[in-house]
Structure formats: structure tokens, C-alpha cells
Symmetry: C2
Subunit: 478 residues, 2 copies
Amino acid sequence: MKRITIKELFAEPERYADQTITVAGWCRAIRASNTFGFIDLNDGSTLPCLQVVFEADRLDNYKEIARQNVGAAFAAEGVLVLTPEAKQPFELKATSVTVEGTSTPDYPLQKKRHSDEFLRTIAHLRPRTNKYEAVFRVRSTAAYAIHKFFQERNFVYVHTPIITGSDCEGAGEMFRVTTIDPDDPPRTEDGKVDDSKYFFGKATNRTVAGQLNVETYAMLTVSGQLNVETYAMAFAKVYTFGPTFRAEKSNTPRHAAEFWMMEPEIAFADLNDDMELIEAMLKYVVAYVMKECPRELELFNRFIDPELLTRLRNIVESEFVRVSYTEAVRLVKESGLKFEYPLEWGMDLQTEHERFLTEQVFGKPVFVTDWPRDIKAFYMRVNDDGKTVAAVDLLVPGVGELVGGSQREERIDVLNESIRKFGLREEDYGWYTDLRRYGGTKHAGFGLGFERLIMYMTGISNIRDVEAFPRVTGSADF
Amino acid sequence: MKRITIKELFAEPERYADQTITVAGWCRAIRASNTFGFIDLNDGSTLPCLQVVFEADRLDNYKEIARQNVGAAFAAEGVLVLTPEAKQPFELKATSVTVEGTSTPDYPLQKKRHSDEFLRTIAHLRPRTNKYEAVFRVRSTAAYAIHKFFQERNFVYVHTPIITGSDCEGAGEMFRVTTIDPDDPPRTEDGKVDDSKYFFGKATNRTVAGQLNVETYAMLTVSGQLNVETYAMAFAKVYTFGPTFRAEKSNTPRHAAEFWMMEPEIAFADLNDDMELIEAMLKYVVAYVMKECPRELELFNRFIDPELLTRLRNIVESEFVRVSYTEAVRLVKESGLKFEYPLEWGMDLQTEHERFLTEQVFGKPVFVTDWPRDIKAFYMRVNDDGKTVAAVDLLVPGVGELVGGSQREERIDVLNESIRKFGLREEDYGWYTDLRRYGGTKHAGFGLGFERLIMYMTGISNIRDVEAFPRVTGSADF
């Protein structure tokens, strides 16, 4: 079907004025008298509906159209008429209307407010509401902005594996991947589970040179970072962007079992280069979404968070501040404010401290650098003081931590010491330490949880509402 | 570090001629006398190396540099000198060279030919070879071309879930996702596996309205199609691009347990619109890679497949042929040729038939349409003859099937009949059939296995060599 999208009409109404065009979409509202009626038609290309006017004396199937329900799909041909005096800038005077798909009177999305909780139970229908249409267009646009930013700068996009034997951070909260039925596993003659039946092998203590143990089962990745570092040592500028998983049973608005992560990695680069990259990328993505999705952000600013646009402009226009962790702790302690969690050097910042720093002290995004070694990951580069590492968190007003990154430890002896110090086994990281054996160079990278970014850019406060089909404890529906 | 990439030098040598610049990369070869030496430096931005000339009387650390091994990382500052008479167009006369990371004499990638099999065992190092550098740059570029194509046409990118209770095609070869240890599952008092401990629930015969049963466990998706159809009924033009999984124990060069798939879905569209979209997308992606990666394709054409560039040009320049399955069967049967598998109407085409059609009969890409209902999936639209469905396979010279698509069944009664006919249960597809209850309209889509496309565009014949870290039966290394 050669149809014009409603987005095109809104972009260039003059171009289509008085022309005969075809549109197709879904009915958000319909009302009709005996002689004429209106359909608010949405085709998913833009938020506003096109008003289609249909008249009994022009259409043989007038009665069929007039009795359709909200949710029905229509194709309409007609003349676009500019209506400068009306609420909407133009309408379509239909010369023909076809019912492409009927709906029912009990269609769940009638024209009224629905709760987010209810809409989650109909996740297959909720993108047909303004709010979720806006959320998922912003999500798509932001994903593209990320690719565009990196590709224009000659980064290589790497698909790091989802199924992995590697537990990036040693965190342990991972899903197993198996073809074995735990209710009825295959057994050897002596009644033990038959390891040979594992799809990827079950090679306890297998230590092939340069390869990681597949200790028990294959698992779902928590991060592509270690894998993508191998490609950074070949292409110098790389990034991953794909799904990651956590098997944490935390039922909070900010945790999901499945979410997307973006992880760039740059060689011949230190923590300063890393911060420059974070700042440039974030400004680019926010500016791109502001340019491409103004109606969507306007909607969020109006109905979800009146500070949203101010906050996003602040990202694009501010120069981000840089402050050391040690200095940040001093600022918190000397503030004289009462915090729920009193802070001491060596402790992680809580959201209340993060927000104090970024909102009250600086009023703009803040990089906090050089964190205590003991509370960060084993692969981060140890500073000369021996007790801090070249790590960085980006704090932003309204949320707190948005990005975490670090310079990676390129010195093989220090890295191996850290592996042992964190209770891991050197032989499990042979391929990873190889990168330091063969042309290992300074390198750095960061991770950005994509859903967190979308929540930040929309003001939506529950991760379940920025994922098409959220996977959380107790639910993998649809 | 403010460095110029070698790609930039090759793009505009005149601009940098006689300028002092800094480069950084890895040593592919090094040779040195007592007075001067050469480093072939590759920085992963482009295939050719930059020749760095270093001289004993200009560099205090000459001896340190001269004794470095292949694989070492260097940063070099110097003057770019055009050398129109030499093999390489320019070289860098170093004023300083820094060893950023040493290598060892036994670095596995010495300057000689290595087998693909060997390189798979060092998948963390192989992107440092010309061939794999080229493969993975083509892969990144093609992925971006796909996003660019769809985004420029206002498609919405949807992240369909990886963890799912839905078995898209009823094929059954799926991985389970669980936090339960099959060797030692939690048990209730009566010794049975304790279902309540399943992360996503284990709700046999749970039939929440509009939601799919999570019959046994959560699984890894085989396709995002059913999920993305829900978004097509809101945005009209959508696509997925993400990892998918098969637990088939087939140890062949064309099968992997984990691979990326791209699945667009368009509303108000029939099979003809679908074919137009396939043809436009494929031409766009191939043309984009030809423009952005000429050196890489040249390398494949020279060392892997001398027909490659001809084949790719054929894709971009041909008008694809359209022929019905019934006609295709007739052409095969009337060819008088002997095939290993004799073909009869109702049987699937084998690769030998596909290649005969696309290579010998037409000499260009061929759409084969309207397949027997019994050998295709339940969701495909039944044609008026009652025995074929509006499905399409795209066959291309040199490979056979590259893309599979279909118009989807939008008539709820026919769809439910198909669900039963294929041995599935209507109640498991409530949310999917809802799409036909509420404004269901004509729609169509297709799936393109991304690795298959990369194999097609590089001439590489083993899927293990186009995935960064392939996951196949018996192996989830790195």
C-alpha cells in the first residue's frame, strides 16, 4: 500500500494540501452522526492523530465505518484540507475509507487514563497509547544515536557473546543456560547427573591454555567488557551494545533480569580520555533525541516530570565537573547535612550523597574519580597510591549514577595480584591476561545501562515501563 | 592521547604530508639494523600498515625499540613523508617512539599463514590478523547499515525479549534459562523439585488472559517475530536486531547455538510489499559495505572467493526475479538434470535446487513465493487455494536461501485453525491472537540471519569465523 505517514503530513502540510492521499492507521476515537463522522487516526509515525472526516453522502459503506470500535484499523483515501482556524492544523476529507481490521467494544484501551500497572498486563497493546508510543520511539531513537555516534567516530561494533563461561565481575548472580531438565536430568549408571549430556560441556577444572574454564554450566552474560577488551586490542576503538542479565531476586522499580548495555572500550587511552568520551557521547545522544523526538519529550515534560527538559538541556549545555572520590567524601562530610547513611572514606556513595553532589554542590553532571580499590572491580587500574583505582562514576542531577567506567589494569603483575586479591583464580583469566602479555597498552572503557538512560530521558521511574516485555522475578510473560 | 588514525592518513595523505603527527598501534613486523629500523604499524582503523622509520641517531631508546617483538604496542611521533616511488605511499620518520606494551618472542601471530582452526583457539587474538580484522569491520559496518536503512525510513527498533516462554515456531530446540542447579535442585518435603524456586515461576497450565503459558521454564528465544508483531500493530514499521538461539546439536559449518537475527515487520502490507522491502534493504546494505569497506572486500575477493565482488555487484544491480514455488518445482523437474534429492510438489527445496534456480535458470537473486502450507509456519497467511501460504524465500547465487519471510495470517479464525492444525494450543497464543481481535490488519515481515549475510558478503564459509566468540555444541570458551 502506498501510504503517506502522518509524520510526513505534519512535517510538510503545505506540500500535501489539497492533494489526494492515502493514509492508514488505528482508530483512537470515533464519533458519528447520521450524516458525518470523525476518526482520530494514529499510524505510529508520530504522536498526533490525523482527523479523518467521513460523510454519509460520499461513502457507500458509511454505516459500516460509523459502527467501528476504538482500536480498529482503517485505510483512508481523501483530500488533505488545511484548517488554520481549528484545533488541528489539517484534516482528511475522505473519499473512501476501508476497514482493514475490526475491533471490539471491550477493546482494553478506551480513551481514558489507565494505570501503568494495568498496562503492564497488556504489554502487547500498550505501545498503542501516547505515553508508550513516546517511550518506545525515544528508545529506538536513542539506540540509533548510540550507533551513529560510535560509527561516525570509526568505532567497531562487536557482538560479544550472550552465553558465556565468564563471570565478568565475579558477582555470581547469573542465569544458567542448559538443555537439561532439572526435574529429570539424564543420569549415568551410578545415578549421577550425566555431565556428557551438557550442550556446551561441563568441564570442571578444564584449563585449556588461553581459555576460560566452563566450570559448571554455560551462563547468561552480565557484561561484554572482558570480551570486548580483546577487540579493543585489535581495533583500538570498539563498543558492544546488547542484552545482559542479572539473576538477582530484587523486586524493585530499577532492576530487571534482562536489560541492554552499551560498553565502549578505547586503547591508547587513560581515564581522562574515558571521561571525554562519556561526556561527548551523552551530549550527542541527548541532543539527537531532543532534535528527533521533540513531541515525545514535550509529552513527558508535561505529564511525567516538569523538570525533564531543563535537565536534558543541562546535560547538553554544561561542562561536566570532575572531582575525586576523596574530595567528594570531604564535601559530603563537611556539608553539615544529615544523611540516612553517614559516609566515611572507603564506603560506596549512596544515592542521597550522589544527588547532593550533583544537584546541590555543582548543579550539573559530575565525574567522581579515583575510588577505593576495595569497593571496585578487579580489572581497574591501581593508582600510584596503591589504595585507589582509576575508576569513574558519572553522577547526573535527578538520578545519581548514570555511567560507570575505568581505566583497565594493563600491567600483568598488578592485574594478577588483583585477581588473587579478589578471590578469583589466575588460570580462569588466561585469555584476559594474554592481552597484557602481547602488546597490552593503556586502555579504558565504560558501561551505560541503556534502560537507565531511557528512564533518565523520559522521566519514567519504573524499568518495567521502558522495556517492551520486561523480565523480572516471577514473570517472563509474552 | 591525541592520535591520528592510519585510516585518516590513507584518506588524505596530502593533508598530513610534512606535518608532525602522533600515531599508535600494534607492530605487525619489525626489522632493524644497528643504525635504523622499520615497524609495520597497524592501528585497527584500516587494513594497511603505516611504515614507521626509526633511527639510532635520533632516538635515545633506539635499542629498546629495536629489540621489541611482533605484537608490541607503540606510540610514535614524527613527520609524515610522502614516498611516491616506494611500495607504500608514505612513511613516518619518527622523532620519538614509545613502547606502550611489550610482546613476547612466542607471540602466536607471527607473520605467516595460520589455519582457521588454529585461529579459533585464539579467538581473543585473531582480530589482529588482516583476515579477521576485515571480517569484523565488515560485520560492524553491515550492522550499522541495517540500522541506518530502517531508521532513515522511520522504522522503530524494538528490543524483543531474549528470555521467553514463547516457542515461536513450535520447533522445540530451545535452551532453558534457570537459576536451578540440575545436579542439586531444591526439593519439597516429598522429594519433588520445588517449583516455587524457579526464578520466572514454573506455571504449568497457567492461562492468564492474553498471556502465554510459562509451561516449564524460561527459555532463550529462537525469534523475536511474534513479539515484534505486537509493535508493528502500534508503529506500523518496526524491526528487531538481536541475538537468537538454537539448541540443535548439529556440528556443521553453518550452525551456531547463538547468532544475530534481524526481523522487520510492516503493517498495511502484503507479500509484495515484503519483497520490495527485502530487495531494497539488501541492496542498501551491500552497497553501503562496498562503499565503506572496499579494501576489506578486495582482500576477500583475492584470498577467499574470486567471485565475491561480481556476486555483490549482481545483488546491487539486478532486479530480483519473482517466481512461485509451484513454478520453481516445475523448472527443477523439467530441467532434465539429476539432483541428489528428486523434488516433488510439497517438498522443501534443497540447496542444490535453490542454486540451480538462482545460478543457472535466472543468474540473479530469485524470490520464490507461495509455498505449501504444510512445510511452513503456522502464522503464515493461507492463500485462497487453501493449500499454499503467502511465504517467500530469497535465493541468491553462490549460497541459496538468504532471507525468509511471509505475510502473516490476520484472520483470527484461520489463524486459530492453523494453530490447532500445527499441534499447538490456542490458549498459549492468546496475546498473539489478540492482535487480530483489535485492529488486526494485513502485515508482513521477514527474518535475515545476520551471520549468513556476513558469510555471503565475505565468502567465509564457516559461521565460527564470522562470530567474535562462537558458541557451538561443546564450546562456550572465552
